[in-house]
Symmetry: C2
Subunit: 237 residues, 2 copies
């Protein structure tokens, strides 16, 4: 009876972590979507909302970290339960970074809003954000299912985002060369594009963590990341 009780409380602890991470994921997605909408529509109020929302994500990460440590200390889990808890900490850290990237994009709305964004450029940014958000949404779905196979397939999708980022990078350089007045706003747009591209990296990190949580191993094969230095723009970390 006693051990059933302990197990069920323990289960509650793990469920709490899963639920909080899903909430973080939802908020991070929303922040990224709103930051790009604010950027494209020069919506300063929406940008301000994204900047404020970041504190919620920071708090959630801290609370997840504290809950994880308390759970480890109290329950002394081993093997897959321990991986589950350690994985929660890593995923929460990645989601917190995604929120930071949304916040950073939102902060650039003021600097960019003085210039009128050419429609084609806005479309490019929106497209990049859509892809990154699809990847983030999918990885959060995989988190709910804990499927290592699905986690591995998401890792392979990051190159598509990198390719769009590179073409957007080149397009921004063209605008800058055409008219020096474009240089300052386009510089901020370059950083915004980089922010969005990095969301894909965090989705990949999360996919790797889910794979590790489910299997106890690192995903097999090289991380699918353009690692050559000779293409302008597609310079990842």
């Amino acid at each position: 009876m006693m051990s059933t009780h302990i197990a069920s409380v323990y289960d509650e602890d793990l469920k709490y972590l899963t639920r909080r991470i899903s909430e973080m994921g939802g908020l991070a997605e929303q922040m990224v979507a709103e930051s790009v909408r604010a950027l494209v529509n020069s919506d300063l109020a929406l940008a301000q909302k994204v900047i404020s929302d970041d504190a919620i994500l920071d708090d959630a990460e801290r609370q997840i970290g504290e809950k994880a440590i308390v759970t480890i200390a109290k329950r002394q889990p081993v093997a897959s339960d321990l991986r589950e808890i350690m994985g929660s900490i890593r995923i929460a850290a990645d989601l917190e970074r995604v929120g930071d990237l949304g916040k950073n994009t939102a902060k650039r709305v003021i600097a960019v809003s003085s210039a009128s964004l050419p429609r084609q450029l806005a479309r490019g940014l929106e497209h990049l954000a859509e892809l990154a958000l699809v990847q983030l949404k999918e990885v959060l779905d995989v988190y709910a299912s804990r499927s290592p196979e699905k986690a591995n397939s998401i890792r392979e999708r990051d190159n598509e985002i990198d390719a769009i980022y590179t073409s957007l990078f080149r397009e921004l350089l063209t605008y800058m060369m055409e008219d020096p007045r474009n240089i300052t706003p386009c510089t901020h747009l370059l950083f915004c594009a980089k922010n969005i591209e990095r969301i894909g990296d965090h989705a990949t990190n999360i996919a790797e963590t889910i794979y590790y949580m489910a299997t106890g191993a690192q995903p097999v094969g090289e991380r699918p990341k353009d690692d050559t230095a000779n293409t302008v723009g597609a310079i990842g970390n």
Copy 2:
């Protein structure tokens, strides 16, 4: 006798983590210093070395993470020992990111090397890197001492790096406006400057982790970070 034996093996585990983190810190510092040297001198061979060295740092982070989990599972530590181990994981992650930033700078050496870097710009980048490296070095010394007071004083130093970054950002924009041929190389230099500025953020993260390891609490007071959006350039996360 038995418990002394266990405690001393346990101590060895913690010492292993501390030693590996110090090694990571040394390599991360070296990579950043060499990446900036490669950039300023257009030294492609040195850039390539930095890019290769990153794999060592990635491996070290993974090994520290695995050792941490095995230690938690075997020794089931509580309170300060658990914080010590959890802190190791976080610090290793920050140092791995510092290495990534050095690697990203190194990757941009090819794109920049076609242009001759004005001496003033090179000096600015070197100065920014010096400050970031001093901060990283100091935080690694504080890690060795585990002093929460010293950890807190490092947190307050990040604004200096932000100010230099902002002035470098403005200077780069000026070069881009002067001559469209400067736009592509200067864009890469903008990202390099941003990479170096972010090293300061990671040093601040590490300082906060050390404070937490020593006290079990988050540092008091707002993180000293320029959080306003209306200054061009000084846009942190």
